[in-house]
């Protein structure tokens, strides 16, 4: 085919490309109204014979006080109360606590009679999960939490366990409790915490390692993650700390944050579009003989002033350009320039992610330490490891700010609330770098970001929600950005070295980024 036909085909392809993208964008449905219930909380309280009448009165008084003073009255919490003793019984059916009913609920709690008898803990937990699961608010609730308060160990079986789940040599009521929790967790229970009233250290350890969810369980306070056990000396201490406990369960609920899909679409189109245009112009200036249209390349060269042409030269060659000399330092040296570059890029990453995640200044200040730790793990560790490896391979590599990326990053974060692009990059001592080694280093940046995303996902599902959440979004944004195949981004270096490696890395990182937007 002749040149005209090729051009028209390319234009046709581009039109189709734009049309399909626009089509997909317009089909994103508008935001639906969500239920006001954010937490479904079921308190499972021990009313067995070992709890005296006076102690019971203290317990119900403190729970009633908690309903009055700590549980929000804005309809965001659905409360259920289950008591277990010789059997299990629902004392308060799932009720959304609001201004109209909280006093009535608090009074109702005061009137709960004690069951007495054995400790049918498995029955109590089973009933608690059934109440949450069958509640009319279940589908819309963001988080399902069971809070267990007991003064002893289970001693009434419900025959749920068919094997020795805690490895103590026999199948008993303990295993029934574990079986019930495992079933509930499989069906959607997000969190189970436990408070032991005068429970021994050994028994608390058993609850921590076998019952609370998600595992691994921790001793609280501090309430650093979901799935905690807390030991209190007696019911008085239980009563005096119930507000703190409820605050930890309800207030500690972390909303999972992901960038808005629409914002991400606009940001990625904008970033890719701007970078593509500059890259195309730079290609016409620096390499006119390989430009698709010689006439256009010639015209661009004629029209553009020398200053602009110089900037375009620098833009396209910024990664290979010898901005650093060949050094003779140790492989592990961090140069002065690198220190400055790391400090600025870590600060930018931290403030940008804190800004887009938290709506108010107070919340930004609260989450900054966590975001900083995440940024250090992701940005510093990844780049430092790759620098050291490249230096060992004989190519002096340093971390430097990338001004174009920095501007794009700040723009996308502060105007569109979707951090995209990268404020820094690794620059290499060009003469020793081959296409293969450049491709390898670029691919390593994507692979390490994906590996870190898996680690943060592990933290996320283990209950370290904030650090896991930010880490996943940060890593997958970097992996996706680093695999975009437009010069001078890393994706093009991978593509130039191995097309099929680039294909697999791009598909993996883009798919995972999409899943974060729509599923996390």
């Amino acid at each position: 085919m002749n040149g005209k036909a090729s051009k028209s085909n390319a234009v046709l392809l581009l039109c189709l490309f734009t049309f399909v993208f626009a089509f997909a964008a317009t089909l994103v449905p508008p935001c639906a109204a969500s239920s006001s219930v954010k937490v479904q909380l079921c308190m499972v309280i021990d009313g067995s014979g070992t709890i005296g009448s006076a102690e019971w009165a203290t317990i119900v008084n403190s729970v009633s006080k908690g309903v009055n003073e700590t549980v929000p009255h804005d309809g965001s919490v659905e409360l259920t109360i289950v008591q277990f003793g010789a059997r299990a019984r629902t004392e308060l059916s799932p009720t959304i606590i609001d201004n109209a009913n909280y006093a009535e609920v608090a009074n109702h709690v005061l009137e709960i009679p004690k069951i007495n008898g054995g400790t049918s803990m498995a029955d109590g937990l089973y009933l608690a999960w059934r109440e949450l699961r069958n509640s009319t608010n279940y589908q819309n609730a963001a988080k399902h939490v069971v809070n267990l308060a007991t003064d002893g160990m289970p001693n009434v079986r419900n025959e749920n366990a068919t094997s020795d789940l805690d490895g103590d040599g026999h199948v008993d009521a303990y295993d029934d409790v574990i079986a019930v929790v495992n079933d509930a967790a499989n069906q959607g229970l997000n969190e189970l915490d436990m408070e032991g009233i005068g429970v021994s250290d050994t028994d608390m350890k058993w609850f921590r390692d076998n019952v609370v969810h998600p595992q691994p369980g921790i001793y609280a306070p501090p309430f650093t993650k979901a799935g905690w056990v807390r030991q209190v000396a007696d019911v008085e201490e239980f009563a005096s700390t119930i507000g703190q406990k409820l605050q930890a369960v309800i207030g500690g609920v972390e909303e999972v944050w992901t960038p808005s899909a629409f914002g991400a679409l606009v940001t990625s189109i904008f970033t890719v579009g701007v970078t593509s245009i500059i890259s195309i112009l730079a290609s016409a200036v620096t390499n006119p003989e390989t430009f698709p249209s010689q006439a256009v390349a010639q015209k661009i060269n004629e029209v553009f002033p020398e200053t602009l042409k110089k900037w375009l030269h620098e833009f396209i060659g910024s990664k290979r350009k010898l901005v650093i000399g060949s050094r003779r330092h140790s492989f592990f040296t961090v140069t002065k320039f690198e220190v400055v570059s790391y400090v600025i890029s870590l600060s930018v990453l931290t403030f940008a992610f804190a800004y887009v995640k938290a709506p108010t200044l107070n919340e930004i200040l609260v989450i900054i330490p966590t975001v900083l730790v995440t940024s250090i793990v992701v940005e510093f560790t990844k780049n430092y490891v790759i620098s050291v490896i490249a230096r060992m391979e004989g190519v002096w590599t340093e971390h430097r700010l990338w001004y174009f990326g920095l501007i794009m990053f700040l723009f996308s974060s502060f105007f569109l609330k979707v951090p995209f692009s990268s404020p820094s990059r690794l620059t290499h001592n060009a003469p020793k770098f081959t296409k293969k080694s450049l491709g390898l280093v670029s691919a390593a940046q994507v692979i390490i970001a994906l590996a870190f995303a898996m680690v943060f996902y592990g933290l996320f599902i283990s209950g370290y929600t904030l650090i896991g959440n930010i880490g996943i979004v940060m890593c997958l944004t970097m992996a996706f950005f680093d695999s975009i195949p437009i010069p001078p981004m890393n994706g093009k270096d991978i593509y130039d070295w191995s097309k099929f490696l680039w294909l697999s890395l791009f598909i993996s990182s883009f798919t995972l980024y999409m899943l974060v937007l729509f599923v996390l």
Binding site: A24, P485, F510, M514
Partner: protein, 92 residues
């Protein structure tokens, strides 16, 4: 556009198409299991799969074009047959 440009376009379209199709399929399965999660995006999976399929098909078409272009370029760069030998000089 030369064959390497078409090849680049083909890889990009194919990668984009496959990524959109795979993510659309996973999101589809996810929303089947948890229909009430992220309600605002509950209808996105089909458009994603359709867009992905379109991109992938465009990518495959671009690959065909790449092959054709490569053939044409190979023919263009084939050396010309040697010129015929000069006629023998006329005998005096």
């Amino acid at each position: 556009m030369r064959s390497n440009h078409w090849e680049y376009l083909a890889f990009v379209l194919l990668a984009l198409g496959m990524a959109l199709t795979i993510s659309g399929a996973i999101i589809y399965v996810h929303y089947q299991q948890y229909p009430q999660r992220k309600l605002q995006y509950s209808g996105i999976q089909i458009p994603l799969i359709l867009a992905g399929a379109c991109f992938a098909v465009l990518g495959l078409l671009a690959f065909r074009r790449t092959r054709a272009k490569k053939k044409a370029e190979a023919m263009e760069s084939e050396p010309l047959p040697p010129p015929p030998p000069p006629p023998p000089p006329f005998p005096p």
